[in-house]
């Protein structure tokens, strides 16, 4: 029964992008590692301020693009020159200039698909349930409020102390986030 309702973290609410940026920096400086911010629109530098350094999305996109392009060209070469070669007036079977448009389109298709599905996978979406949704005021994260959540699995986490720390950053409505 105790495991029914675990503590996920403590969440504080801020009013402006500047406030949450300042709070995020201070939280990071204070040594908290498992921190997430929730904002109604992307704020430049916020992810970096809470210790997010590198994203694999560009790399995945490049892999998708190269994979799409190479597959596209290899497919055409194999089909036109190996599997079913057609001799049309003695022209070369590997007529590569004619294969460029399809190679190009499949490069874009591969890269775009990897960018989108890679982004979703790295974000672990779809994820219909998440503990932060249990906070009533969290719905405002998609309108005009900015939230900072320090997770309970952070080594430095201590319910009373972390809540006090957030209040010290001028956070409003500091609340516990329960994982039910």
């Amino acid at each position: 029964m105790e495991q029914r309702s675990q503590l996920y973290g403590v969440m504080g609410e801020f009013d402006t992008p500047e406030q949450i940026m300042a709070a995020a920096r201070k939280t990071h400086e204070a040594g908290y590692k498992r921190v997430t911010a929730y904002t109604p629109f992307p704020i430049e530098g916020l992810a970096e301020a809470i210790g997010f350094k590198w994203t694999a999305v560009p790399l995945l996109t490049m892999i998708g693009g190269l994979g799409g392009g190479l597959t596209g060209f290899a497919m055409q070469y194999w089909m036109m020159a190996v599997s079913y070669p057609l001799n049309i007036g003695g022209r070369p079977l590997n007529s590569w200039p004619a294969f460029i448009p399809v190679t190009f389109e499949l490069t874009i298709l591969g890269a775009a698909s990897f960018a989108v599905f890679g982004m979703l996978a790295l974000n672990k979406l779809p994820e219909p349930y998440h503990p932060v949704f249990n906070v009533d005021r969290f719905a405002h994260a998609s309108t005009d409020k900015f939230f900072l959540c320090i997770e309970a699995r952070d080594p430095k986490f201590n319910l009373a102390e972390t809540a006090r720390f957030l209040r010290g950053l001028n956070a409003q409505h500091v609340s516990e986030v329960k994982d039910e």
Binding site: P40, F41, T55, I108, D144
Partner: protein, 464 residues
């Protein structure tokens, strides 16, 4: 006109209409856009419009059913004019789609803030236009149930599509374009779907928007990857959109038919596509902002900028027409020269002169600021340009095919009732999808508007 540059932020400079009317907050933009979807009751105007469009879609279905029963003989096509309306409409629709990608991708890369409030429905327009376009080559094959032949799948026949043919390039270009446009659109919608989920009033709305938003929770880590993916998509969609109409133009220019076999076709097709697409964005934006009271978000600045893009791309198109003529005579090729004179004096010359009137002469009025800032004039202009672009494709397809190399191969083409009903039917499909979209999804990107609010309040602080 003074020689010195006016200060950029000078408030009395009439040109600098805001991209977002002043006084808006994060909450007010969110409320206003989300309310159109979530709380606004269905008005009589929407219901009437939707009903008419739905009726026209039934005309489309009837036309398609009759086509499948009888075959393409119900159209006006025959030897030597095998393409006719189906290809004219295909090129017209796919061209219209291009403005959506231009606005969402190219203007994003160029950091044009004014794109924010028009990119969402321009992208929706792209998707719907591509859907309408895709119908035509499919049904034009004569046996649409065999359309899968165009894809390279291992079959017992052991043959493959001919990858040296522009028509197969087209299959890949258009299907990639449709897929990437859908992905781009969905990625842009994701945060807004989450916004709608959080504000949903009924259980049905919660379930639908909840499922579609995939559990998006506005996390900074997510935003970071999201922005990275969005930027990359914009970078990928930009060459894609240029390639699509280039490949469409290859359908013509790779052939040796007089009037088609020209190197100007790719750039001039792309410019024409953007030209007609912006005209269609205006056709949609002007009623949309009026009916749903979105004048604060889609301001005169947007309309005027779009008018300027139309003027610029219209001039490129005019240059294309000129070069076609010039090269025909400069080449001295008697078939090309003959075709050029046939455009001016042949049986379809009235189409050609109507095209010049719609696409070159009338848009010159856009040089005047009074016209660019007159909503009614712009709306009429957008209709004229869309008509002109349709005529352009008609002139290209029909005049060349009716005046081939040998006089014995000459012919005439006239569309039948079913040609018209299919075309009008796709217009109905397009309008119906737009009607559904406006009430089902946020027509303006909400999270990007919030970003714009933040951007504006930052700008204000810096000025103070």
């Amino acid at each position: 006109m003074s020689a010195s540059e006016p200060p950029v932020n000078s408030p009395d400079l009439r040109r600098l209409d805001p991209v977002l009317a002043p006084g808006h907050t994060y909450a007010s933009v969110t409320d206003k856009i989300a309310a159109v979807v979530l709380t606004r009751p269905l008005g009589i105007g929407w219901l009437a419009g939707f009903t008419v469009a739905f009726g026209v879609v039934m005309v489309l279905f009837a036309s398609l059913a009759w086509l499948i029963i009888k075959g393409v003989g119900i159209w006006g096509i025959n030897v030597p004019i095998g393409w006719g309306f189906a290809i004219v409409n295909f090129v017209w629709w796919i061209g219209i789609g291009h403005a959506g990608t231009l606005i969402s991708a190219i203007l994003f890369l160029l950091n044009q803030k004014w794109r924010t409030s028009i990119n969402r429905f321009a992208e929706a327009m792209t998707l719907f236009a591509v859907a309408c376009a895709g119908i035509f080559p499919l049904i034009h094959t004569g046996r649409p149930w065999m359309a899968f032949y165009m894809f390279p799948y291992p079959s017992t026949m052991g043959v493959w599509p001919q990858f040296r043919s522009p028509l197969i390039w087209d299959v890949f270009a258009v299907s990639t374009y449709g897929t990437v446009s859908l992905l781009f659109w969905f990625v842009g919608l994701l945060p807004d779907l989450a916004t709608l989920r959080d504000r949903a009033k009924t259980r049905t709305q919660q379930v639908i928007y909840g499922a579609l938003s995939l559990g998006w929770r506005n996390s900074a880590h997510h935003w970071h990857r999201y922005q990275s993916a969005y930027l990359l998509l914009a970078g990928l969609a930009t060459p894609l959109v240029l390639s699509v109409h280039t490949v469409v133009s290859f359908d013509f220019s790779v052939a040796i038919v007089p009037g088609w076999h020209t190197t100007i076709f790719p750039p001039y097709f792309v410019a024409g596509a953007i030209y007609s697409g912006f005209a269609m964005v205006l056709t949609l934006a002007i009623p949309l902002r009026k009916v749903y009271g979105l004048e604060d978000f889609i301001t005169m600045r947007h309309l005027e900028n779009m008018a300027k893009v139309m003027l610029a791309t219209g001039l490129i198109v005019a240059y294309g027409y000129f070069v076609e003529f010039f090269m025909a005579f400069y080449s001295g090729n008697k078939f090309d020269v003959f075709l050029a004179t046939q455009r001016l004096h042949g049986p379809y010359s009235h189409f050609y002169f109507a095209l010049i009137l719609c696409n070159i002469l009338t848009p010159q009025l856009l040089w005047f600021e009074k016209v660019r800032r007159n909503v009614v004039a712009l709306f009429l202009m957008s209709l004229v340009i869309n008509t002109g672009m349709w005529l352009e494709r008609f002139v290209i397809v029909v005049i060349s095919l009716t005046r081939d190399f040998m006089p014995s191969a000459w012919g005439r083409y006239s569309a039948t009732f079913w040609d018209y009903s299919t075309f009008v039917g796709t217009l109905g499909l397009f309008v119906m999808l737009i009607f559904l979209f406006v009430r089902g999804l946020p027509a303006i990107a909400i999270s990007e508007m919030r970003e714009l609010v933040a951007h504006q309040s930052n700008g204000k602080k810096e000025n103070e």
